[in-house]
Symmetry: D2
Subunit: 270 residues, 4 copies
Amino acid sequence: MATATYTSMRNVCMVFRIDINCDMGESFGAYVIGCDNEVIKHITSANIACGFHAGDPVVMRRTVRLVKANNVAGGAHPGFPDLLGFGRRDMNLTREEARNYMTYQVGALRALCDSEGIQLQHVKPHGALYNMAAEDPDLAGAIIESVKDFHQEPILLVLANSEMQKIAEEAGLKVAREAFADRAYNPNGTLVSRRVPGAVLRNVNQISDRVIKMAKESKAFSVDGKTVELGRVESICVHGDNPEAVNIASAIKTALVKEGVQVRPMGEFL
Amino acid sequence: MATATYTSMRNVCMVFRIDINCDMGESFGAYVIGCDNEVIKHITSANIACGFHAGDPVVMRRTVRLVKANNVAGGAHPGFPDLLGFGRRDMNLTREEARNYMTYQVGALRALCDSEGIQLQHVKPHGALYNMAAEDPDLAGAIIESVKDFHQEPILLVLANSEMQKIAEEAGLKVAREAFADRAYNPNGTLVSRRVPGAVLRNVNQISDRVIKMAKESKAFSVDGKTVELGRVESICVHGDNPEAVNIASAIKTALVKEGVQVRPMGEFL
Amino acid sequence: MATATYTSMRNVCMVFRIDINCDMGESFGAYVIGCDNEVIKHITSANIACGFHAGDPVVMRRTVRLVKANNVAGGAHPGFPDLLGFGRRDMNLTREEARNYMTYQVGALRALCDSEGIQLQHVKPHGALYNMAAEDPDLAGAIIESVKDFHQEPILLVLANSEMQKIAEEAGLKVAREAFADRAYNPNGTLVSRRVPGAVLRNVNQISDRVIKMAKESKAFSVDGKTVELGRVESICVHGDNPEAVNIASAIKTALVKEGVQVRPMGEFL
Amino acid sequence: MATATYTSMRNVCMVFRIDINCDMGESFGAYVIGCDNEVIKHITSANIACGFHAGDPVVMRRTVRLVKANNVAGGAHPGFPDLLGFGRRDMNLTREEARNYMTYQVGALRALCDSEGIQLQHVKPHGALYNMAAEDPDLAGAIIESVKDFHQEPILLVLANSEMQKIAEEAGLKVAREAFADRAYNPNGTLVSRRVPGAVLRNVNQISDRVIKMAKESKAFSVDGKTVELGRVESICVHGDNPEAVNIASAIKTALVKEGVQVRPMGEFL
């Protein structure tokens, strides 16, 4: 398999590359959320909200400019049409609805990127749309159709080891597989539900250690203390919604660089 | 002046060309408005609602497909973020808000056009946004900035004889000037307010006669019975929101063709 | 059991009473849906949309006035916050969200009823909220809490034979059980999914016959041709979203009256 | 005139009473705005957002509970249907729209107040609705109609010295006149536009001095240093959207109490 060979070659060369992605531009009108101006310094790819679950056209342009000014790559972060629920509540859309809601949002952001002279690097669905699609082939199919709606196809950021990943790869999309820096994994490689105590890690050193394992060994630690094979991971997802999260993002980047891992936008090595 | 020369040349050649535009795709979710499937047969350019004042992503794609299947040109019809008021209520946006709301909506539609393999021909602001911008240089400026946000600039459809027209021409935009088939004009060339009795014409023959005068002589009749110089007009706006309106659209096209006027999408002769 | 005794007594007296309910006021801004002015003549209780899935404050007041002018009883028809999906898409709200979304909407309508001098007779959740609550005890609990938020408790309209009915009765609410005039039933008394061919009946005579059976014998016909015990039914749900539906509503009322069934608002006999 | 007599009597008794009001409950879904838990300690009346410009049903109930737990009076703070603009952008609604948007929002909040066992003390329109109505008799009329929609009429909080005040008093409403603690006044008693430098005061001592003058002498200082007669003022508006604003609110209350002014909810002395 091409990927395996590629991985082996990379191990031989001892060149490790990883992207760090974070949700951004989730403010809305008078409402401010996230520490975008801080977290931008510690990431390589920004997932920019597109107005359905968060963000608005003014915030979107400002975020595109912020991304550009910091030499970070920008991607679209489309969500369910549920501002009230921040896109975190399951909704049962038809495939036609899901595809078009995606294309609408991504197209809106792409126009702002075009206008500011940056390229749309990737697409990462948000919240419940992301979680549902990770397991629902129909919704995954809608997302794939939407990515293909764009002639210059953006990279699709997917949960490493998920159904979504397999379906997207089979469909021939350019895919980046992501792992979560601060989330506990089940033994089968899925994420432990946020409702379970211990699902979200807080210890900076522990998180940094895990991220290095993800980047260099493609492994995560499961809640039962064993390691889980994630397969190759091209991006690490961090959070930036509070000062503590910004510190974690900063620590992760520092640790990766110290370990010799090249931290670069996914579009540069995919 | 270039335009005058061009007009003279055209008079010499006796070739008259005109576009007929109509608002479309204004349905929303379960709500249906307009007779799109009928009116599409009698027009050459469709102004497709973009989800703020009307329309939704699913309706937008269906409308793009309808436009393509009928060999009609498609344009964006962005409006104020006021679905409840159908974009017909004045809102005092900042210039930054207006520009970005426009670019967001036009970008979303352009993505759907790209995906379906048609070109985005033009942009026509909707309702209160259109009316306010016709007189407000700041809002007109925002609209112009938004059109320039697109590398392949769409044509901007403007009210013939308005401030908006002048400002857009000075800014170097490709502009199409439109006249209204079924609206009474004031002696100064502006539209009579809808609230005034007689502002909206209903007689098919009368409307057809006026449209021919607009297309061939660049003139409108004012409410006081005199003629008003509109300057060159490249497009006639018709309505399609009820069966009667569809009949009017049909009659206008038939009358124009009978008079030897070429009825074609504005993008083909601008 | 009180209900059984009551039913027996009624059989002895040979007095049959039934309410006919229909969704109304689902227009929104410039969007018109439903034939409210026609269907109002053939029903006794109107479920008035409250602005989340459909309806707006202006439409709501007009509908309250229409209800009053036609001596029909009015109730609240709250739905999910999903205008784009007309409240027909499942959403996984928390109990706290569901309760408060309900109370907000019902409170808004009650204020308009107060202002127009009519009483709020009942509450009937809409679409996906109704369907999900029929089976989900947690969501049913949220709805019950919301009804109890009102000192003068409105009647809760529930699907006859559902979990929702049991939970609401156990909670001590005043409940009206409804059956659907034009929907096929499964042998276990649930509704056949709309996606199954034959789920929605169209034959006026067939529908009228069924409704009489529902009103006088508390029975429905299942898709396999057998009868299904629904238990006592106090209201029949009809639709009014197209001219054919209005004819069905009219035929149902005429048939019931002809059979000697008293057709009256549920609040008059509950 | 009754009011004058009452004022004289109060001067004789040397009893000064004033209410302190502040906007609250303006968070929305995942978005948090305002320091409600802190500012609540320093005010006597809370203007609770009602879901159109800010707030949502869950936030509204939490705010009603917060108000109750702190023995503060609660009122409705309805705004334009413009979450994206936080209700601060002018919209030209019809009178029918304005009245019903108000009644809808106030009714929704009243239901939550009823449910939590507190009374709806007052209504204060928000942002652009408040500012436009202060000068527009038609919009003021819509607001008055809406207040009268409620049998137990809430107090209407109005800008002291405005057209709105006069119209509301003539209509027989119970009115509370408010002055702004931290805003500069024009010589004619209107507020200096926020766009003018110096329009918003920041010095705690200066603000406290002004408030005492407002409470005891019904006077404000104009930007030209002279005093402006405001007429009787029953409530002082403070802000609570940042820690500094909370400090100002705290200082005002302390200063008023120290001066012997009774700081109590307007409903207790109106």
